[in-house]
């Protein structure tokens, strides 16, 4: 790991933090100045709103540029079929384990609040005469999937900590939670004419969900490291923006969880992308030397062919390797 790679990690983190701080400040300014009346309707052309829109565009562009210039070392060909698990490699890293535990704990903490809220809505819906309004089903679903996400993040994080190849795809469960949360966010605000009341949260949820999916894609899908980095930065910015408004505590906990996961991505992926960690060859290749020994035993018998025999094992080994590729 050289200084340039460490600098790229800090570049991502500092850039995301600065943009997130700006987003929080502008969002608070917008809430204080860009809405009016009892109905809290948006003021057309408010400076705070215009500045916030500009910051969102700048964040997308700046993080995109960072992703494009991110240094990427070529990966050994024989590792391509294993995806890019190496990018999240943090075997024995206490920091990664800590981040994982914090994110998982935040997701688990949100679950009982969501379940309680959903149960309350369901009760109210059952007792209502016209059976209209929010029945709380999506809120309950979000709470249950939050528990699922807790398990997924924990399993994936422990797998990384122990250096295991399997288990990392469990991050997909966090994406399932993102799906439920996305539907619940929309359902809760479907009748709200003021888009600014819920669009920042909706975008934060969508970005977080895509971040979890791309994280899982490193193991089981088509890896896109640069997109993963971009999503991590954008998740931090939009999660901060959404949390700056009057969201629920459960919502803030889930926003914090995805931000912590994004920080973990920005801490490890840029460095691992520029310096693929040393990996052992996969087990299927390790078995080949035993099979080759059985093949090489046969040609040894005719003495007249000894000069040729010395070349055959290597030729066979190379041919086998080409076949495996």
């Amino acid at each position: 790991m050289n200084r340039q790679d460490t600098a790229s990690r800090w570049g991502w983190l500092v850039c995301s933090a600065v943009l997130a701080g700006g987003a929080v400040w502008l969002r608070r300014w917008q809430i204080d100045t860009a809405f009016e009346g009892d109905l809290n309707l948006p003021v057309a052309g408010a400076p705070a709103t215009i500045c916030l829109l500009c910051l969102m565009a700048i964040a997308a562009a700046l993080l995109g540029i960072l992703a494009m210039v991110q240094r990427e070392a070529p990966l050994p060909r024989h590792l391509h079929r294993q995806g890019r698990r190496d990018l999240t490699q943090a075997t024995g890293s206490g920091l990664h384990l800590a981040l994982t535990l914090v994110a998982a704990a935040l997701l688990l903490a949100a679950a009982p609040m969501l379940l309680q809220e959903g149960a309350g809505l369901w009760q109210a819906f059952r007792l209502s005469a016209d059976k209209t309004g929010n029945n709380g089903i999506l809120v309950i679903l979000t709470g249950l999937s939050s528990v699922l996400a807790f398990v997924g993040v924990l399993v994936a994080g422990v797998a990384v900590f122990r250096g295991k190849q399997g288990g990392r795809s469990a991050m997909v469960m966090a994406a399932v939670n993102g799906c439920a949360w996305m539907m619940e966010s929309y359902r809760g605000h479907a009748a709200n004419p003021v888009q600014w009341d819920y669009v920042p949260l909706l975008l934060a949820v969508v970005l977080g969900m895509l971040l979890y999916l791309e994280w899982a894609a490193l193991s089981v899908g088509k890896p896109r490291p640069r997109l993963l980095l971009w999503l991590a930065g954008m998740t931090i910015v939009f999660s901060a923006m959404a949390a700056a408004a009057h969201t629920t505590l459960s919502g803030n906990l889930m926003l914090a969880a995805q931000s912590v996961c994004a920080v973990a991505v920005l801490w490890y992926v840029p460095v691992n992308l520029a310096n693929p960690p040393q990996q052992e060859e996969p087990e299927e290749l390790e078995e080949q030397p035993e099979e080759l020994e059985e093949h090489t035993e046969q040609p040894e018998q005719p003495a007249a062919q000894e000069p040729v025999e010395e070349m055959e094992p290597e030729a066979d080994l190379q041919a086998t390797k080409r076949w495996e590729r």
Binding site: D38, L39, R77, S169, A175, A191, N192, L202
Partner: protein, 202 residues
């Protein structure tokens, strides 16, 4: 990207391997199928929700206030993107000081216009001219709460809305709703999708 092409070439295996479906599946790691399914679900949901948020959405009518134009249970397409309310449009709006759920009404007058309702003849006058209203369900009677809001000039940026079923509609005549800010409008009802028997372009 070159990296992506290299990835595709390496995961494809030899031509002989690619032609064998079982062999190709064996190269994919465990959990890939779950990931693919979740990815597809997430993508579809995200696109749908973003379209519903910014472009248009499907809303189900609740109540009889817009009969016979719209009936209870009708699913209608509501267009939001770049929409400015105009006189005669059927709009979906939410006035949160009245109720959290949205309501469907017809725009009778926009900002700057004068509204006068003659209950004796059941005629609505906008800027002194009587409206031709073939969409109303029945002749308009005096509401139980009295004339309510009447003989007013609609402020700029606001709307005066009424339901087509005049005698069963809580609308701008009713004080808790009153004049509606145009920013409360979610979108314009464009057509009724189903039930198919009620399909119509509004």
């Amino acid at each position: 990207m070159e990296f992506d092409r290299q990835y595709e070439a390496d995961t494809a295996g030899t031509p002989e391997q690619s032609s064998q479906p079982g062999r190709r599946l064996a190269l994919e790691p465990a959990g890939s199928e779950l990931y693919q399914n979740v990815r597809m679900l997430a993508t579809v949901l995200a696109v749908l929700i973003l379209v519903f948020t910014f472009v248009g959405r499907i809303i189900v009518v609740s109540g009889p206030s817009m009969e016979n134009t719209l009936h209870n249970g009708d699913a209608m397409l509501v267009w939001s993107l770049g929409y400015t309310p105009k006189q005669g449009d059927v709009v979906v709006l939410t006035k949160r000081t009245y109720q959290e759920d949205s309501i469907v009404k017809r725009v009778i007058a926009v900002g700057g216009q004068t509204v006068d309702i003659d209950y004796a003849t059941g005629t609505v006058y906008v800027d002194g001219a009587p409206l031709t209203e073939p969409y109303t369900k029945e002749p308009m009677l005096l509401p139980a709460y009295g004339e309510g809001l009447n003989h007013i000039v609609v402020p700029e940026g606001c709307l005066f809305v009424m339901g087509d079923n005049r005698n069963q509609s809580a609308d701008s005549r009713y004080a808790p709703i009153g004049i509606v800010d145009a920013r409360c409008v979610i979108g314009r009802a464009v057509l009724v999708l189903f039930p198919f028997g009620d399909f119509q372009i509004l």
